[in-house]
Subunit: 436 residues, 2 copies
């Protein structure tokens, strides 16, 4: 049970330090390791969600491709409408693009970074075409993979669409949408503050602290919790227990707290009358013409895990990114309102946003900001990202007309330790494509 | 926990007696009852697998449409190939076809029987066209529904295909395929005896007996079993514990024991190197051109629940039945070998098969037999069926060129109590279509 809770925690944001002597990406390819292989698999190769073994490295390299085989899930239908089409014109030279990892004096090629980052699948798109596509480990082109906190950006996109459509008012207080939270720390925060994770609530994701709120939150959402558990019955009941930080004001500082995403999904459900999986299906997946149904891990009340529970296909994720890069259009169809895309991509770049972000704990991400559940680089290319633990990413670079979609399963959870090998790599490929 | 085990047991074969004063089909439509509705759902409307509440009538009327939201599952991909096409030419007069339920002296219309049987969805096909299609409760045309023991017939079809392809030898002993079972009661049974459920093993599905083997079997396969559980870790480890019935011989008598289906799937996996979900995908679902992915509930070792864990779309199930009726062909494609279809449809109709079946406990099914995990009526139309608890059915009537696919959620588990309202109804519609 403890290990399961730990997984839930790690799956959220992660803050593991560097660890030494882990086996390499090649050594930990799931087919090589043999997890869950055989009829039946041997006990030492059997992974369980109930004891957390499924998410210990390197076993997680198998599990990220098979989340629904461990948890209850709700389908995100792609429907029976017209599917998007993406052209492919591979440029193998991308693999040879070199970059210098942060804190290093040695260069590395883009292709070398894929192994160093335990990449499971990566697609680079340029001007709407797939120019690079690799599946080094476990993931199949027709498979699904855990998006981890990239899920947050899908929740933020849903909220941004609702704002664009005039159905959700970001300046309203949380309590106006969710009266159940009137006694919680969220009550007087605005919806926009929730979207930007600047709510001043007492909620720690410090895994080294046994009293951190992350533990109670994780148990509330865990279907494998003990039978005698009597705490909050689901994510939303947990949210009602969250207190305000003493001597703090909403809006002052960015603080990466996954509870904001659960709350945002709750607000969106109140507005639409639909659960998150159905909203993503109806507002994004079907209009996009996704090729594969996705799914959400659900809590004991059937509530989708908005902060980290979405699983989807890599090409579908690349197509989603390409649609974002194109002002909400793909294959000539307006998938989501352009106003929602602009709201995400350019609405969080003011000095005020940067100052708010700087109060968070991301010293390597100088000048960045966080807005509508997306990470805004504020670099000269106007790049912005969706990011998830263990290396999940969508990197959208408008200037370079480039989108990168990546699934991975590094032994690090936190992107703090993954960024040094990936952000400069993405920037280098963008420069290459810009000058091509 | 106990209730969950009870569910697993009921989901297998069921033997509940008649119960009185249950609310009607109309009163128990899931949307009316409101289970899992709201954000979050109220506690009294929240259903759990871990405590079994999800499968108590009438809550099960919701759950049969949402099984993956309660359990870990494995996808059955329909692939990206060409989808089958079924023409529709509705004949509303079918609803007015009358029949006399068994043990009754009052006639009823076919449409009335749908309510009396708590039908969730039904399709009647005639000469390859959909002539009747209704979704009275909960199930949507694009939804999936639990097939319960109709799943067994899919396992039997996989085995029949492997026999037709020369990959599986039905006269061989179980132990030749599964050496791990050398000390079990199954060791010296033939594969055909497993396919026909005539193995003489000590295995009771009597839910009134606390020592019945069904309980140990259900716990072995339950992801929600207690953390301190130390018994068999999965369905296959359980099979190794099954003993032979004293003073009995394999092949002598039909005995409806779900363990045979798990064993058959195991044998097929050994032959193909694939799990059941992948076999059904590759050997049936993709070549059929199914419109929707299906899925299997899986045990704690990721093994598909072959005896009752398949969930699929109703039209896909009707198309599967139509393919069977057409000697394995649909839309001009040979989906499965004709020899496999004939093996199922006509291979179990000898007097010997009927005599073996008569030793089972199905006094209402005079002259029937059980063969390759299908129910053979041996009536003048050559009809045969796939059957699952709570009213799931595929009824294939070659003479009438008719296929009926039905999903339901009656308060009875056992078909013994459902047959009186359904078998004569199917026969009456077949007569109507034959004479149309």
């Amino acid at each position: 049970m403890k290990a399961t809770v730990l997984f839930s925690a790690l799956a959220l944001a992660g803050s593991l330090g560097f660890a030494q002597n882990y086996p390499t990406a090649e050594q930990t390819v799931p087919d090589v390791m043999g997890w869950m292989k055989g009829f039946p698999p041997s006990q030492e190769k059997t992974l369980h969600a109930s004891d957390g073994s499924f998410f210990e490295f390197p076993a997680l390299r198998y599990s990220v491709n098979h989340m629904r085989e461990f948890f209850p899930t709700r389908n995100v239908s792609s429907g029976n409408g017209k599917k998007y089409q993406l052209k492919t014109k591979l440029d193998p030279a991308i693999g040879n693009v070199t970059f210098t990892p942060w804190d290093s004096d040695k260069t590395m090629t883009f292709e070398e970074s894929l192994g160093a980052n335990y990449t499971d699948g990566i697609i680079v798109m340029h001007k709407g075409k797939i120019v690079y596509e690799k599946y080094p480990a476990g993931l199949k082109p027709d498979g699904l993979h855990a998006a981890m906190s990239v899920s947050k950006s899908f929740t933020g996109t849903i909220a941004s669409i609702l704002v664009a459509e005039g159905k959700l008012e970001p300046s309203k207080k949380v309590v106006e949408y969710i009266p159940e939270l009137k006694d919680s720390g969220f009550a007087d925060a605005t919806v926009q503050e929730v979207m930007d994770m600047t709510t001043a609530v007492k909620y720690s994701e410090d895994y080294n602290n046994p009293n951190a709120e992350i533990w109670a939150y994780s148990v509330a959402g865990n279907v494998f919790r003990p039978a005698d558990y009597t705490g909050p019955q689901n994510y939303y009941e947990y949210l009602a227990t969250v207190k305000k930080l003493p001597d703090s004001e909403h809006g002052d500082a960015f603080g990466y707290r996954t509870v904001n995403t659960e709350l945002l999904a709750w607000i969106c459900s109140r507005v639409t009358g639909q659960g998150l999986a159905d909203m993503v299906s109806g507002m994004i997946w079907k209009p996009l013409g996704a090729h594969y149904d996705g799914y959400y891990q659900v809590d004991p009340s059937g509530i989708a895990f908005a902060g980290g529970g979405f699983d989807l296909n890599l090409r579908d994720m690349a197509a989603f990114g390409e649609m974002m890069r194109n002002g909400g259009r793909l294959n000539g169809r307006q998938v989501i309102p352009e106003i929602a895309v602009n709201y995400i991509a350019t609405g969080g770049s003011s000095d005020e946003y940067k100052a708010t972000f700087a109060k968070g704990d991301y010293p390597k991400l100088q000048g960045w900001s966080y807005h509508n559940m997306w990470w805004i680089t504020n670099n000269s290319h106007g790049a912005y990202m969706a990011r998830g633990v263990h290396g999940q990413a969508i990197y959208i670079d408008p200037a370079a007309q480039m989108v990168i979609a990546r699934f991975a399963s590094t032994y690090y959870a936190s992107n703090k330790y993954i960024d040094p090998l990936s952000i400069p790599a993405y920037e280098a490929v963008a420069e290459y494509l810009l000058n091509k």
